[in-house]
Symmetry: C2
């Protein structure tokens, strides 16, 4: 029996929706989830608007095993993620003593004033636990199945490294890639038959358009090695039987 | 009075959620929408599962002025976007005569068999109109306010170029960027005051972590030049008054 654990991601930030900043966190989370055996099932990018964040968090945390958010936990007025997550969980957003101490110590050591803006980074939903931030101290947090992390990629990646060991993981989805020097039009029919004959696998076809002609990468995914191997052989045999290009 | 036109995007494909393919279309659509004065308000990445696609399409087409989808319109069995969009609109998915003729001619000219897999690319919701594909012929389509396009970036971009002139656009959101050689902690307080004093603008703060210290880009956005200029001056004056680093 395979054990399936699911996840969703919420990317929070007007700057992604305006094109000003190009997201680099979705692909990273997707890679990490696949590597550890969690199925990322949905991603939403939402603006810096409380109602939108609350709606996305509540829709996705009810539906998937884990939710990961990025963005909106800095010290400026447009960082509203802590408030929105608190509202989604129906708990107050308050200064966390441990986070205040952590940040206070860090600023004191560097001779930097621990002003109100910086104190904002110690606010989180009551009952949340910290996600350590080895890069710039200000912690992310976890409440329920929701993990709230920074949007700056280097900090997001470091926080995620700290989260991964705490996650329950499922049976890894194994995959095999078969390159095909033809476009999808010639393989569509036989590939569909192979998918039908191997219902325990997911067979994907990914076209690449290069130098005026199509190539395809055929990807077989399965949770058991036996199912994977059988479908991989069927796909490879099909590709080998095609006329040379 | 400013005129606001909104849009959402749906990226369809297991390969994005697994990390196998890194999306390159979200950032491009975001850039184009911003350039022409349409506010991209939400993006969802969903798997190759009909119910998920239908739910996303119906949620977003009711809420936003335009919806743009990418992915799932090729000739293979995992390309189910045309069926899902038809289901979302409650209309049959059928072979389109004009698309059959277009594709049939193109394959005939190249001496390539117009087989069942290739014919799949002529299926679309009854009542849809074509989005021309100058790269590889097989058209995208538009039904209602939903524009269905290819996932291969070069084809997506070419299709979008054909869609843009047909869109109603709003008042462009103007923007100005003020670089700041400090982290957010020092500017958070004054920036929040500037935002309060300039309610017709959206002021964003985007930290960059480089070589062990934070820099910030402050971005003012507004629909009128006057509002933009006033807030830009306030932000620039605030940055200029900070102690040198």
């Amino acid at each position: 029996m395979s054990d399936i654990v699911t996840a969703a991601m919420i990317v929070i930030g007007d700057e992604i929706l305006s094109g000003r900043t190009k997201d680099r966190n979705i692909g990273h989370l997707a890679d990490v989830m696949t590597a550890i055996g969690i199925d990322l099932k949905e991603v939403r990018i939402v603006p810096d608007e409380e109602d939108e964040i609350v709606a996305a968090v509540n829709a996705l945390r009810a539906r998937y095993g884990y939710v990961f958010t990025t963005g909106g936990i800095g010290p400026t007025h447009d960082d509203i993620t802590a408030d929105a997550i608190s509202k989604a969980f129906g708990v107050p957003c308050a200064y966390d003593d441990k986070a205040l101490a952590l940040l206070g110590d860090s600023y004191a050591k560097r001779g930097i004033e621990f002003n109100d803006a910086r104190k904002r980074m110690a606010r989180m939903p009551v009952g949340a636990t910290h996600i350590d931030n080895p890069v710039s101290i200000a912690p992310g947090f976890r409440i329920g199945n929701v993990h709230v992390m920074a949007g700056v990629p280097s900090i997001f990646q470091a926080m995620l490294d700290n989260v991964v060991p705490t996650l329950r993981t499922g049976t890894r989805l194994l995959s095999a890639t078969i390159p095909c020097p033809h476009g999808e039009g010639i393989i569509g029919g036989p590939l569909s038959e192979i998918q039908k004959a191997h219902p325990d696998t997911i067979i994907g076809s990914y076209p690449k358009y290069l130098d005026g002609s199509f190539h395809t990468e055929l990807v077989v995914r399965a949770r058991s090695q036996e199912a994977l191997d059988a479908a991989r052989k069927a796909v490879a045999d099909m590709v080998a039987a095609l006329p040379p290009r």
